[in-house]
Symmetry: none
Subunit: 337 residues, 2 copies
DNA sequence: CCTGTTCTAT
DNA sequence: ATAGAACAGG
């Protein structure tokens, strides 16, 4: 059986607001590690991957793996019946054909009990390669959302160009053209923009791109001084980012944040310059996850699907989208061979 | 002639927002006691009864009884021309074929004068029995609204079950089932839940139900200790509640409110357990009156129309709705025989 | 955290 | 025109 307790209904609500327009049905894969959902979007262009880790539930118990086929529209409706600060308990017996949800007000004077019918969903479990990306941009999620909204007013697609100076989003359309250039924050220029950060994530055997890395280094020797330290930096940063979901006190997620302020800034970890074009329709949809996390990271390599990732306290939400010249399925399967 | 002065246009606006969707036309029955409106809803399923008492107007004068047939949609339009704190004066000569409305800004630097055409409406004046109910639930009007909205997302109808532990609203539908249990507030458990409260409202000659009352008493002797006191309690409480409309300072309407806080809590006065099913479409409509009053009271007896009542400073707004097994008209006429 | 307001989408 | 969602303020 499954019994998972979530402190704040708000998290689940935001999650569903974030993905319900992209995916209408999906399996909640419940294991002892947590709850995951992975699904192609309705038009099979984008991939959504959600992970809620068991440790971050208030309590979590899952005796055996079970995929719970849920209609996300229905689940959204039911979650609307919870107040933001209600404690949510998800319950499903082993042979469940329905998912139980209990919403308890903090004062415990109000209990909502709901039961949602489940459905059988044939799950093509998609292998997502743990790719290394040529460029990783970390920025304010709300700024990302704003840019997508703004540019969507102009055109259908956006070109994202990442260089070490910054990242440029540009779009063209009937009424005109537009572009937004975000400069890398000063502080991040030190910690980011160079090659060492990524080496943390990179598999040691992927050496083919190291030449590029060196090239990049040569171009900016002045920012490579504290390389050894940065490896630690990066690990540290990602930890903090994770615990940073919507918690206000943990504002200085990056210790190397430019100003001592709570501003997020833009950090670019660049292996090599990339320039990719994506459908704004999808990006704006991804950007709806902004309420979940202060930061978003965009992971890009040329001719490879974009990864848009939101790390929040309870887990991670990832969106994959093929560039307009689509290698998406090739990309997805390449890793499994 | 009629000349009635209302301190705050906001009250009238909220009133019309509350009922205009249910009733499009109706007679404003003006007497020296105040202004009343009573009408079946458009589909003749629910009954709306509004009373504005003369004493609660800033000034009130009505020389002779006159029914003013108004189209509530038109009245709503005209009231939109008033600011919330404008002083409203309703004027109608004895032979009126139109109703005059004057909106004066508090600073008296702005005067709006409007005239609305009246219509002749054949008024079947419906006798509403002053029934005693088996269960009376008092709760936050906004919570009531919330619950109706939530459950309306699941199903067409709601079952309301009142017991001394609390009240349960439940609904079933395609996507699943849901229920909300509100526990009676601790403090209210003392004042409520027993039989004596209703004796305040009951006509002395209605003795047919007293047997039931005694039976109920025998079943729960432990809560009958402070009976004599409670009669006073109830009178006191209803007075306070009435003066409580939307006035923020008068928060502790119930002196026996559980916490000393400004929370409303749930109070249940139970003669015997009831379980009734109602159309959520109508309840959500009734719940639109929430802005008028912090509290709403639900009065129920088995197989008898529900009374949903909002008491506000200037008067009372009542809604009657037959349970899904409809004895409504039988109920309405039974008292007139 | 709730209320009131505004905007948008239907 | 209305109702829901997002936002700001208290």
């Amino acid at each position: 059986m499954l019994e998972a307790r979530v402190k704040q209904a708000a998290v689940l609500k935001k999650l569903l607001d974030a993905i319900k327009e992209l995916v209408t049905d999906g399996n909640l894969d419940c294991t002892d590690e947590g709850i995951a959902l992975q699904a192609m979007d309705n038009s099979h262009v984008a991939l959504v991957s959600l992970k809620l880790v068991a440790e971050q539930f208030e309590s979590y118990r899952c005796d055996r793996n079970m995929p719970l086929g849920v209609n996300l529209t229905s689940l959204t409706k039911i979650l609307k019946c919870a107040k933001d600060q209600d404690v949510v308990t998800l319950k499903a017996p082993d042979d469940a054909d329905s998912l139980g949800l209990v919403f308890e007000s903090p004062k415990e004077d109000r209990v909502g009990e709901y039961e949602m019918k489940l459905m059988d969903i044939d799950q093509e479990h998609l292998g997502i390669p743990d790719t290394q990306y040529d460029a990783t941009i970390t920025m304010s999620s709300s700024e990302f959302q704003r840019i997508c909204r703004d540019l969507a007013a102009l055109g259908e697609s956006v070109k994202i160009e990442a260089s070490k100076e910054g990242v440029r989003f540009s779009s063209e359309g009937e009424v005109g053209n537009g572009s937004v250039l975000l400069k890398q924050s000063a502080g991040n220029d030190r910690g980011g923009s160079s090659s060492k950060n990524k080496s943390v994530k990179r598999d040691p055997d992927e050496d083919n791109e190291n030449d590029d890395e060196d090239e990049e280094r040569d171009e900016k020797p002045e920012i490579d001084d504290d390389e050894g330290e940065d490896e630690l930096d990066d690990e540290d940063r990602s930890k903090k980012r994770k615990s940073n979901g919507k918690a206000k006190p943990a504002k200085k997620a990056k210790k190397d944040d430019s100003a001592g302020t709570d501003e997020i800034g833009v950090s670019i970890i660049l292996e090599k310059q990339v320039s990719l074009t994506f459908s704004l329709k999808y990006l704006t949809n991804f950007a709806k996850s902004a309420p979940l996390a202060r930061e978003v990271s965009l992971h890009m390599s040329n001719d490879v699907p974009l990864l848009v990732q939101f790390d929040f306290e309870q887990g991670t939400l990832q969106f994959f989208l093929a560039p307009k010249v689509s290698f998406f399925f090739a990309f997805l399967t390449v890793k499994n061979k």
